[in-house]
């Protein structure tokens, strides 16, 4: 399956047919630091993703000056 990452924008291939939380663990991404987006939907970490899926892991952290 394809995973779109940001900052910088890039795409990686990982195995599908497993839960989102397993994909995040493989990519060493903390679940609380991203939104998981499939198509037009948000999905939770317990949902399964298929080999044919594309998901975006959109970082939620912003920062710098106040």
């Amino acid at each position: 399956m394809k995973v779109l990452l940001r900052n910088p924008r890039r795409e990686v291939e990982v195995a599908g047919n497993r839960r989102v939380k397993d994909v995040l663990r493989e990519l060493e991404i903390l679940p609380e630091t991203v939104l998981v987006i499939r198509g037009d939907d948000l999905i939770t970490a317990d949902q399964h993703v298929a080999d044919a899926d594309t998901i975006e892991l959109r970082p939620v952290m912003s920062g710098g000056g106040a």
Binding site: N7, T44, V60, M61, G63, G64, G65, A66
Partner: protein, 284 residues
């Protein structure tokens, strides 16, 4: 995973609330948190006009979206920092947002107002870029509010921003900064308007989810000058402190040091794997 309120399929899990929500119930939860923030700190009344400082990012646009929906009289303020393509894109996001909702948006260029854009301020002040930028923004937000006769400025600071600021003040023993940090700062001088943070009860993951579900087109890319910012390092540390694996010894104190002080060598006393040390071998 099911929505805590209605039992439908959830789209977002919020561990800190031990809950998950479907999209409609999450949006209502989000709005309720802002209503409660405004009520608890008496941030502004229904009949008061509010200047909303917007950056093109998820937090400030989510805040503006809620305030418009709630019926407040709002004016947006975008400060063009002059940070190359980043500023061009973020300004376009704010303009498109305001145009779609037919709400007023003021645009001020930092270069015109304080004499130089942020990249130049960064190079001549020797301050970290975020420091000079934040100072310029606070000054300009206040000045524009005064010029426009608006009694209050609302910013998109969220719970993670506030936690990181508090953490930084404690870490650096800045006791004078602690009483200044509040969800609502009263006007203490005729030339200082009230400043409020209606998102202080909401995490940045929650504001990102709200913006996504509301189809708000915000700038996802990070400011090029924010890389390595102290506030981001503090957020990363706080995020990792809440990961159960850390307590179980799958991480190291040296990683925490590097997150807090990127580039600085790790002191020998911290350079060990917690999971590899018996309890009585931990250095004192």
């Amino acid at each position: 995973m099911k929505c805590r309120k209605c039992g439908d399929a959830a789209v977002l899990e919020l561990r800190r609330h031990n809950a998950a929500f479907c999209a409609p119930d999450f949006l209502e939860f989000f709005r309720n948190q802002i209503r409660e923030a405004i009520r608890k700190y008496r941030m502004f009344d229904r009949d008061e006009p509010v200047l909303v400082a917007v950056s093109g990012g998820k937090d400030s646009l989510a805040l503006w979206d809620v305030l418009i929906d709630e019926g407040y009289r709002t004016t947006g303020l975008y400060l063009d920092l002059g940070i190359f393509d980043y500023s061009v894109e973020s300004k376009a996001k704010c303009e498109a947002f305001a145009a779609a909702r037919q709400v007023p948006l003021l645009i001020r260029r930092v270069e015109e107002e304080v004499g130089a854009p942020v990249p130049i301020i960064k190079s001549v002040t020797r301050r970290p870029p975020c420091s000079g930028c934040g100072l310029s923004k606070r000054y300009l937000m206040n000045r524009v509010a005064l010029d426009e006769g608006l009694p209050v400025v609302a910013t998109g600071h969220n719970l993670d921003d506030e936690a990181a600021t508090l953490f930084g003040s404690v870490m650096h023993w800045q006791t004078d900064a602690l009483p200044r940090q509040s969800p609502a700062l009263a006007s203490t001088h005729p030339k200082l308007v009230r400043r409020v943070k209606p998102l202080y009860r909401l995490s940045e993951r929650e504001t990102a989810a709200y913006a996504f579900l509301r189809k708000i087109d915000y700038i996802v890319e990070e400011c090029p000058f924010a890389k390595g910012a102290t506030s981001i390092a503090h957020k990363q540390v706080l995020d990792r402190l809440e990961v159960p694996d850390l307590a179980e010894g799958d991480d190291s104190t040296s990683d925490l040091w590097l997150a807090l002080r990127p580039g600085e060598p790790v002191p020998p006393r911290l350079d060990f794997r917690m999971s590899q040390q018996p309890a009585d071998a931990v250095p004192q």
